[in-house]
C-alpha cells in the first residue's frame, strides 16, 4: 500500500495554504496565518480536511513549508518554500525554468531543472519588491489590495517612484498624490518599481523561459504585466498561484512516503497532533 492521502501546509507570513493530495489534489484551503503567526495554521488544515471529508489521521504524511514551517506539531517534515515551489510549479507547468515568487514578506527567484532547484535568490534585508510594499501602498492610497492590479491598468502615464525603501516610497506616493498625480498612475508606477526590483534580483539567475510567477503578487494583474514588460517576455501564472508551495510540499511528502515503502524502510514519521504551531525553536 503506497499510502493514500498526503498534505502540504505552507505557512506564509500572512496566509496559510493547505493542499491535500490523493492521486490528484483533492482539496485545498487558504486562510489567514493571523498576525500572531502560525496560531491559525491548524485551523486552515481542519478546513481543508473538512472539505476533503477526511480526518487528520487519514493523512499518511504531512510536509510543512513556508516562513512558519518550524515547530508545526502536525507535520512529519519541514522543507523550505524554495524547494516546494519548484516541485509544485514543475508538476503544474513542466516547461517552467524560472520561478518568480512574490510573497508577503519576501520575494524570490528560483531556477529549476526537471523539478530540482538549480539556484535561487531571495530579496535582501529590505521590503522593496515584496507584497508588503503593495500592502503599504494600498493602505496609503485607500485602494483595496485586491483592486491594485486592475486600477493600475487604467494608468495613462505611470508615475516615477524612485525610492526603494517601502516607507519612503510611501511618502513619495503620498506627496505625488497630493501634487495631483492620479491614483492609477501612482499604482502603475509602484508596479514598475517592484517589477524593476524583482527583475534585478532574479536576473542573478540568468532568467530563462518559461517564467512562472507565483505568490500573492501573481494575483495582481498590473504587477504581472509590469513584470512581463521588464522581462520582455510573457510569463505563466498558475490557476492558484498561492498554492504551489503547499502543493509541492504535499508532492514531496508523497514522494518520501513512496520511496520509503519501496525501499522497505519504515517511513520516518513523527507522532503528530493537529495543534497550534509555535515559532522557531
Amino acid at each position: 500500500m503506497m499510502g493514500t492521502y498526503f498534505a502540504g501546509v505552507d505557512i506564509g507570513s500572512t496566509m496559510t495554504k493547505v493542499v491535500i493530495l490523493g492521486e490528484e489534489p483533492i482539496a485545498s484551503f487558504i486562510g489567514p496565518t493571523g498576525p500572531e503567526h502560525r496560531k491559525l495554521a491548524h485551523k486552515v488544515m481542519e478546513e481543508a480536511l473538512g472539505s476533503a471529508r477526511l480526518a487528520f489521521d487519514d493523512l499518511d504524511y504531512v510536509v510543512a513549508t513556508g516562513y512558519g514551517r518550524i515547530n508545526v506539531p502536525f507535520a512529519d517534515k519541514q522543507v523550505t518554500e524554495i524547494t516546494c515551489h519548484a516541485k509544485g510549479v514543475h508538476s503544474l507547468l513542466p516547461s517552467a525554468k524560472t520561478i518568480i515568487d512574490i510573497g508577503g514578506q519576501d520575494s524570490k527567484g528560483i531556477k529549476i531543472g526537471n523539478g530540482k532547484v538549480l539556484s535561487f535568490v531571495m530579496n535582501d534585508k529590505c521590503a522593496a519588491g515584496t507584497g508588503r510594499f503593495l500592502e503599504v501602498i494600498a493602505d496609503a492610497l485607500g485602494v483595496p489590495l485586491s483592486d491594485l492590479g486592475t486600477v493600475g491598468l487604467a494608468a495613462t502615464a505611470p508615475a516615477v517612484i524612485s525610492n526603494t525603501c517601502t516607507v519612503f516610497a510611501e511618502a513619495e506616493v503620498i506627496s505625488q498624490l497630493a501634487g495631483g498625480e492620479s491614483v492609477p498612475n501612482l499604482i502603475a508606477g509602484v508596479h514598475m518599481a517592484i517589477a524593476s526590483r524583482v527583475y534585478a534580483m532574479t536576473a542573478k539567475l540568468k532568467i530563462e523561459a518559461d517564467v512562472v510567477v507565483t505568490g500573492g503578487g501573481a494575483k495582481n494583474i498590473g504587477l504581472v504585466k509590469a513584470l512581463e514588460d521588464r522581462l520582455r517576455m510573457p510569463v505563466l501564472v498558475p490557476a492558484e498561484p498561492l498554492l504551489t508551495g503547499a502543493l509541492g510540499a504535499a508532492l514531496i511528502g508523497r514522494g518520501l512516503y513512496a520511496d520509503a515503502v519501496i525501499s522497505g524502510e519504515p517511513v520516518r514519521r513523527r507522532a503528530k497532533r493537529l495543534g497550534e504551531a509555535t515559532f522557531f525553536s
Binding site: 516562513y67 523550505t80 524547494t83 532547484v117 535561487f120 531571495m122 535582501d124 534585508k125 515559532f279
Partner: protein
Amino acid sequence: MGPGQIRGRAMAQTESRGLSRADRYYTLYGSRARELKRAGIPVIGYLSALCPVEILTAAGVVPLRLKGNMSEAITKADAHMETIVCPFVRNVFDAAIKGQYEYLDGMVMPHQCDSMDRTSDVWSYNLNLPYWHFLNFPHTTDNPSLEFTREILRIFIATLERFTGKKITRDALNAAIQSHNRNRSAMRLLYSFRKADPPLISGTEMMKVLVAAMSLPVDESTALIEEVAGEVGQRKGGSAKGASRIMLVGDQIDDAAIPETIEGTGACLVMDDLSIGSKMYWQDVDATDDPIEGIAERYLRKLKLPTTYVSTGDTYQENLKARFGHMVRYIDEYKVNGVVLLVYKYCDPYGFEVPAAKSFIESSGTPVLYIEDEYSLSSLARVKTRIEAFLEMIAP
C-alpha cells in the same frame, strides 16, 4: 529564531574544561584582558587581521582584537558615524563608545579598508585613548611596498616604545614571533580535527575558540587551544555521518550566532576563510635576521585580505588561483560540499570580489551561497531559510 536555545544545546556539548573556558572567554569577551589590566599590564585593542600582534606582544602589552556583538543593536554610533560605514565597524564602535572597552589603554587601527581609514578620526576623537596609532599598510605588494611596510612598522614600534617607555628589542620580537607561530600551528592542529566525518569539533565550538584565542595573551591563547585540541582529540567520531559539510567565507564574522544558524540546519561547518579564522592561522612569520623583514612579508604578502592587491600571475586565471586557490584546497582537504559566502553590506573590498570568488569556487565544482547581510541577528531567520534551501539544493 531563538539563538538562546540553540546556544543552550551548544553549551551542553562543551562538557570539557578547555571548551568551557573558551566558552567563558567568548561570552565574557575581554574578561582576561580586564584582569591583566588590573594587574597593571596595558591593554591595546586593535581591529582587523592586519595588526602585527607580534609587535604588540614584544612591547609587553596585551593585544585584544575588538569584537562586535550581533545581538546588540547599534544605538549610539549613528550620532557620530555614517550608516554607510561597514556594519561590523559601526557595531564595534557603538560598543566602544558605550564603554564596553573602557579598560583599553590604546588602539591600533590598521589601514585595511575605507571603513577603517575614513573613520579612524571618529574613533580616536570619541574614544580619546592615551595611545592611538593608525598603521598605514599599503595595498600593493611590490618591493617598494615591502620596503615601505618595513618603515611604517618601525614607526609603529617607535610610537609603542614611547608609550610604554620600554625599548622593543630584537630578541623580544624574535621571541614574540616564535610564540605566535606556535599559537598558529596549535590552531592549525585543532582545525585538522574538523576533517573527520562528522567533524570532532563543531563550527560553533570552533568559533568560540577562535574568538577566545584573540582575546588572550599569546601563550595563554596557545595553552587554551592545545587544551581544547587535547579534549577534542579524545572524542570518538559521532555516528551522524554524511551531513553536508560547509565552508564559511567572509571577513570579521566573530559571532557564534552565524555557525549556530548554519549548524542549526543540520549541516556541519567544517572550514572557514575568515579574517578571524584560517586567514589568521595559516601563514607563519619566517625567521629573518631582521624580524621586521619576516613580519612585513607575512602581513603584506602572505595574508591575502581583499584589500591586498594581488598582481601574481601572467593570466587572469593564474591571478584568480593566486587570490582564491587556497579556498579550493580547503574544499578538497576538508571535503567541503557547499560554500557560504557572507559579505556585509557597504563592504567594497569584499563586495567587488563576489563575482570572481563565486565563479572561481563554483568552477571547481562546489556550489556557493552568497549572502549579503547586516551585522545583526535580526535577519538570521531569513539567512537560515536560505541555507536550508541551499542544503536541499545540494543534497544528492
